[in-house]
């Protein structure tokens, strides 16, 4: 980490191959700069992105997550992003009910032509998650076993 004072969040981006991955490639070809915190995991389509991967990311120490794919009607597979959109509507609602901090999941549509949108998305998400601080509320619970707790004693 670059500094002891500034919190550098760990952010994972789940993106589709055809739009956002290509869009992020364009950010590179355009030499636009963005924060190093975000690492991209490539999927064929947003429809492929399993909600459990988002949960696992937080449990394993991610402070934020980006999910991005093709704009509506642009999906390489016609409807993967529509399926994903529904999945996220339901997933967000459940997480919110359970009290998971849904501000830490940023959904976006970034097309293959939107290199600058990708750079902005990363930079904005990094600064927003930085403001929220580390997601210890979630990560600490993962360590439960070490504490030898009993019934209802977290």
């Amino acid at each position: 980490m670059s500094s002891n004072t500034v919190f550098e969040p760990k952010i994972i981006a789940f993106v589709c191959n055809w739009c956002t991955y290509a869009g992020a490639d364009l950010t590179g070809t355009s030499r636009l700069k963005y924060a190093t915190n975000v690492k991209i995991v490539r999927f064929p389509c947003t429809g492929r992105i399993d909600f459990l991967l988002l949960l696992k990311s937080f449990a394993q120490g991610a402070d934020g997550v980006i999910v991005s794919g093709c704009h509506p009607n642009d999906c390489h597979y016609t409807s993967g992003n529509f399926h994903a959109r529904r999945r996220w509507i339901a997933f967000r609602a459940i997480l919110d009910l359970m009290g998971v901090d849904i501000r830490r999941i940023q959904y976006s549509w970034v097309s293959a032509a939107e290199g600058s949108k990708w750079a902005d998305l990363v930079n904005n998400t990094v600064s927003e998650i930085r403001a929220l601080g580390p997601y210890t509320e979630y990560q600490q619970v993962a360590d439960y076993l070490e504490k030898g707790g009993y019934n209802g004693e977290a």
Partner: protein
């Protein structure tokens, strides 16, 4: 223990200028399961690729990660290099150190740290990669073309001329479609029949084309290269193998007042009929709905007339089965008619016509032999009004789209009218003139300037009858919304082009998607305009959206090339990035429980029902199976499957999970 080889590229200085590539290869070299890690100036160069090939052999690598540019750039290059050295190409992955790292970050420790993370991620993924073989699907080299209009005719001829078999089916008694009904065609004003008829005959005589008229698709099963089509041959009641097409039966048929479909209702036909003189095949069918014998059980005059005894009263519909490898959908379009325009008086006033009816009036083979005469009294109209966009671009009418051909044919109609009625006066009400196309704008200008057609920009509010005249009330928006009222002898509506009736059912039979207006949907609006989402089914002509003849013919040839390309190999070879449903030893067979929710999620109808049967043949369970010919590898089913019974090769649950975990494990 894995033996992964990692190859970090400098990309000249593109990567090494901001990423400490030596540190990357050194740190990755210390990772569990990494057998060999180097960095080199240009991995994609010949010497670079040689490094990889040699390392695969020397270290007996079971996985390769190349940290270089975007996989969208060089993944095929490095996979090929691996394949050449004997490593399964799907055991090679790329970490994007250029577009996603060195080009978007400044030179710093963090940038190198990120590069290491990106490579680590792919190393963890590649540990879970499995060797994959490309998918080979056998191809039946016979095409089914549905629809015998100009699109179907062109597609059939083009495919047949590449040496492949074609089955062309047409629901009407003759091929020809709407083009055969047209008088002259824009922008050249050559006679439609004159250019079409030779092609129709060519179809009938082509050794590679099997033509079924009066036939409809019953069902289509299977997948690309391997479809089974069931075709319903509707009973013609005439034996074509003996019928000579002499036409005597038609002469004698007592039922003469049936509105002729070919003449768009302006003329009549008999119950036993040939739709038009140039029909192919030029043999009659009996219209059982209107035939006296079928209605009342008596008549049979045609049978008595027929010299060769070709009438078959008891003939029933026949269903035949054909194996085909590809399907071209060319079912065309229809025009809105009748009750759709109460405000324009269509259906109420005899002299308010559709554009298609006007085509018949203007056609030399039409009911008036090419003279423009009013259906009501046979008089030659001296004043005529054409209304463009009758229905089109009218969200209130449920048709927000532009029907595309109306501007041009309206100009053509006005021009034909002026050529035929020299003292006539023609007016066109239009919203915009859309004349994009070679020589189209010139054609419209000619109508306005040389043939003095009066163009008024504005909409018509109402058409009503007064003293035997049709009063057309509208506004001229170019004159500041001034009211215009014209006393016309005839009004022609350029009615909207709409999807053929029954297209929705047909789409469902074929499992192709369709738009809200029931036009068939192309796979991609720009890059796959003739493909559908169902592999092996292609589109030609106006069944996809309204379009004119040159565009239709172009699209038909495009579809034909797609079919020919598919038929150019004995097997279809596809990337193995497809979904698979797990199979286990009995008694589980699979963890799939057959809820078939994946079936609704799949955009390609690639999910099939597989019956698992015991040794005695009894059904044990029905589970899902992915048709590898149809699956395009989006993976939507994978994320949807509750029991994780479907996985997608190349992006398996284990692979993506390992990637995510590698980023977070410290």
């Amino acid at each position: 223990m894995s033996k992964i080889g990692v190859f970090i590229c400098h990309c000249g200085e593109n990567i090494s200028a901001t990423v400490d590539v030596e540190r990357v290869s050194k740190e990755i070299g210390g990772m569990e399961g990494v057998a060999h890690a180097i960095d080199y100036k240009y991995m994609c160069s010949d010497p670079g690729q040689t490094f990889i090939k040699e390392a695969v052999k020397k270290y007996d690598l079971d996985g390769v990660v190349v940290g270089a540019c975007s996989p969208r750039m060089h993944e095929p290059t490095f996979r090929r290099a691996c394949a050449e050295s004997g490593l399964n190409p799907y055991l090679c992955e790329m970490a994007n150190l250029r577009e996603h790292c060195s080009w978007v970050h400044e030179k710093s420790e963090e940038t190198t740290d990120k590069a290491i993370d990106l490579v680590k991620m792919l190393v963890e993924k590649v540990k879970k990669n499995k060797p994959l073989d490309s998918i080979k699907v056998p191809v039946t080299k016979r095409a089914l073309v549905i629809g015998g209009g100009i699109a179907g005719i062109q597609a059939s001829l083009d495919i047949a001329n590449t040496g492949h078999q074609v089955i062309l089916i047409e629901k009407d008694p003759s091929i020809g479609g709407h083009m055969s009904q047209l008088s002259e065609t824009f922008p050249t004003l050559d006679c439609s029949q004159c250019i079409l008829t030779p092609r129709m005959v060519e179809v009938a005589q082509h050794p590679n084309i099997k033509l079924y008229t009066y036939a409809e698709l019953e069902s289509l099963e299977g997948f690309i290269g391997n479809f089974t089509a069931k075709i319903r041959l509707k009973a013609k009641s005439v034996n074509y193998s003996t019928c000579t097409g002499c036409g005597a039966c038609i002469q004698k048929c007592p039922v003469k007042k049936i509105p002729s479909e070919f003449n768009a209702g302006l003329g009549t036909r008999t119950a036993i009929y040939v739709p038009f003189p140039q029909a192919v095949p030029n043999k009659p069918v009996i219209d059982r709905v209107n035939c006296n014998y079928y209605k009342r059980g008596a008549c049979k005059i045609c049978e008595k007339t027929c010299q060769v005894g070709s009438i078959e009263w008891d003939k029933e519909d026949e269903i035949i089965t054909e194996q085909v490898g590809a399907v071209v959908l060319a079912t065309g379009f229809d025009v809105k008619g009748a009750d759709f325009f109460p405000e324009y008086g269509y259906g109420k006033f005899k002299d308010v016509l559709t554009g298609l009816q006007f085509e018949r009036l203007a056609s030399a083979s039409g009911p008036t032999f090419g003279e423009i005469r009013r259906p009501s009294d046979g008089a030659i109209p001296k004043k005529i009004v054409f209304i463009a966009c009758a229905g089109s671009r009218d969200p209130a009418k449920g048709i927000p789209y532009c029907s595309k051909i109306c501007c041009m044919y309206t100009a053509k109609h006005a021009m034909l009218y002026q050529h035929k009625v020299h003292d006539g006066e023609s007016t066109v009400f239009y919203m915009d003139i859309r004349a994009g196309g070679k020589n189209y704008e010139e054609f419209v200008r000619r109508a306005i300037e040389e043939d003095t057609v009066n163009y008024i920009r504005g909409r018509v509010a109402r058409v009503y009858e007064k003293n035997g005249k049709l009063i057309v009330k509208g506004v001229d928006t170019l004159l500041g919304g001034e009211q215009v009222e014209i006393e016309a002898d005839m009004v022609v509506l350029a009615t909207a082009g709409v999807a053929n009736c029954g297209s929705e059912q047909l789409a469902q039979k074929l499992h192709v998607s369709y738009d809200p207006y029931h036009f068939f949907a192309e796979a991609h609006p720009k890059l796959k305009p003739v493909e559908t989402n169902t592999a092996g089914i292609f589109l030609a002509g106006a069944c996809q959206a309204p379009k004119d003849i040159p565009e239709t013919v172009g699209m038909a040839s495009g579809a034909a090339v797609k079919v020919a390309a598919l038929f150019s190999n004995d097997q279809l070879v596809r990337e193995p990035v497809v979904a698979v449903v797990n199979r286990l030893a009995p008694p589980l067979y699979s963890t799939c429980v057959g809820c078939f929710m994946c079936e609704t999620a799949c955009p390609y109808n690639a999910i099939e029902h597989e019956e698992i049967k015991g040794r005695d043949g009894s059904l044990i369970r029905t589970i899902a199976r992915v048709n590898q010919g149809l699956c395009q590898g989006c993976g939507t089913c994978v994320a949807f499957c509750r029991s994780k019974s479907i996985d997608i090769q190349g992006y398996t649950n284990e692979q993506v999970y390992a990637e995510v975990m590698s980023l977070l494990n410290d």
